[in-house]
């Protein structure tokens, strides 16, 4: 049974780690309506699972497990559906000061050019990550998030050596695909 105290604690932790919601939903759903759907599903599943949360496990590891499980299931379930209708309710997670960030970029042209190149690179990286199979995508997300191999192994349920091997292979694959896309293949 969840109490108001538990609810407050849950919401505080969720707010603290909101970036995980954003990154996972961005990697597994396309379009803002689908991404918001996924954020909602992950938030609700986190809330359902929260009474069973063991504080000995880092909250981030626990959150990644739930979020990735929901996201992979969502992707498999909704894979065939084309997103056509926008979500009617207000989004749970949104970027609120994007205009401010863009204004800062405009006011500093030299920095802005570097930022533009960086944004393009990240966009290409996003596309390459999105093209990976669901489990590889989870692995790459955790790797880019600078999680240690032991932590990735704990989230996914693999051995540490297996994680290392798979990351090396994925790095090679992404490098190859990156070069291909750069050469316009």
């Amino acid at each position: 049974m969840t109490t108001p105290v538990q609810q407050e604690r849950f919401l505080r932790l969720l707010e603290e780690h909101q970036r995980v919601l954003y990154k996972v939903s961005r990697s597994y759903a396309r379009g803002s309506a689908d991404q918001d759907d996924l954020v909602q599903e992950i938030s609700l599943q986190l809330w359902r699972s929260f009474p069973g949360y063991d504080p000995r496990l880092p909250f981030l590891t626990w959150m990644y497990r739930v979020a990735l499980n929901v996201a992979i299931s969502y992707r498999r379930r909704e894979g065939r559906r084309l997103s056509k209708q926008p979500v009617a309710v207000a989004p749970l997670l949104e970027i609120v000061t994007q205009e401010d960030a863009q204004a800062t970029t405009r006011s500093a042209p030299a920095e802005g050019a570097g930022a533009l190149q960086r944004d393009e690179d990240l966009q290409r990286l996003d596309q390459l990550v999105q093209a990976l199979a669901p489990l590889d995508r989870a692995l790459m997300l955790l790797y880019l998030d600078e999680q240690p191999h032991a932590e990735i192994a704990a989230v996914l349920g693999l051995s540490v050596s297996n994680v290392g091997t798979k990351i090396s292979r994925l790095k090679r694959r992404i490098r190859r695909d990156w070069n291909r896309s750069a050469n316009g293949d």
Partner: protein, 223 residues
């Protein structure tokens, strides 16, 4: 390009996110957390109700078997219905326990394997229910008439009528499988209909089995 260089950019974007992301805690608190509990309760009620129906059918067919054990024609029909009811109840119970034990906070590969296994069980049950229903309605009608009204359809109905009904059931099954294979890729807007046809044709089962193998293979170092 090296991925490690891009990792730095990725990290910088993460730091930027802190200032631009807004998580609407109030929205989640006001309308959604309460609903999450309600949805769980509804799911538990739905699954339990299904199991209760299965158990009632199991009890009724068992009772029919017991009272008509000496009449081979009714014994055969009773056994047929009872076997189907056992299969259905066992599958419902397996799924109910599986869903109750599902812990989304467990490692991703393990949970995805369990989800695929449960999905396979659900599709198989649904497929066999769809395939057997047109064939079983006649034995069920015979058992109901005998059990509740004491009317023996073997004596009152003509044999050609019984055979024609059975053949009609076979035709319905064949037509269903054919339609499933031919039309399951169409009607993208009619999700439930497409899903039903894909379940019937077996293509959803193939996809679910492939996903399970993919999960199992992922645990291997060489995959």
């Amino acid at each position: 390009m090296e991925l490690d260089d891009l990792k730095q950019n990725w990290k910088q974007r993460d730091q930027q996110l802190d200032s631009v992301l807004k998580f609407h805690v109030k929205l989640l608190r006001d309308s959604r957390l309460g609903k999450a509990q309600g949805a769980l309760r509804r799911l538990a009620i739905l699954l339990s109700a299904g199991l209760v129906v299965d158990l009632v059918v199991l009890g009724a067919s068992g009772s029919f078997l017991w009272t008509h054990a000496a009449q081979p024609r009714f014994l055969f029909i009773g056994l047929l219905i009872h076997a189907c009811a056992i299969g259905l109840a066992a599958s419902s119970l397996y799924q109910l326990i599986g869903i109750a034990r599902l812990d989304y906070a467990a490692p991703v590969v393990r949970i995805q394997e369990r989800l695929s296994t449960l999905r396979i069980a659900r599709i198989r049950t649904w497929k066999w229910t769809l395939l057997l229903a047109p064939l079983l309605w006649l034995p069920i009608l015979i058992a109901l008439m005998q059990g509740f009204l004491d009317v023996d359809l073997f004596q009152h109905a003509a044999l050609p009528w019984l055979v024609a009904n059975f053949l009609f059931g076979v035709l319905v099954v064949a037509a269903g499988v054919w339609a499933g294979r031919k039309y399951s890729h169409r009607w993208h807007d009619a999700n439930w209909w497409q899903k039903l046809l894909r379940d019937l044709a077996g293509s959803n089962l193939t996809v679910a089995c492939d996903q399970l193998h993919e999960m199992q293979a992922y645990e291997n170092l060489e995959s």
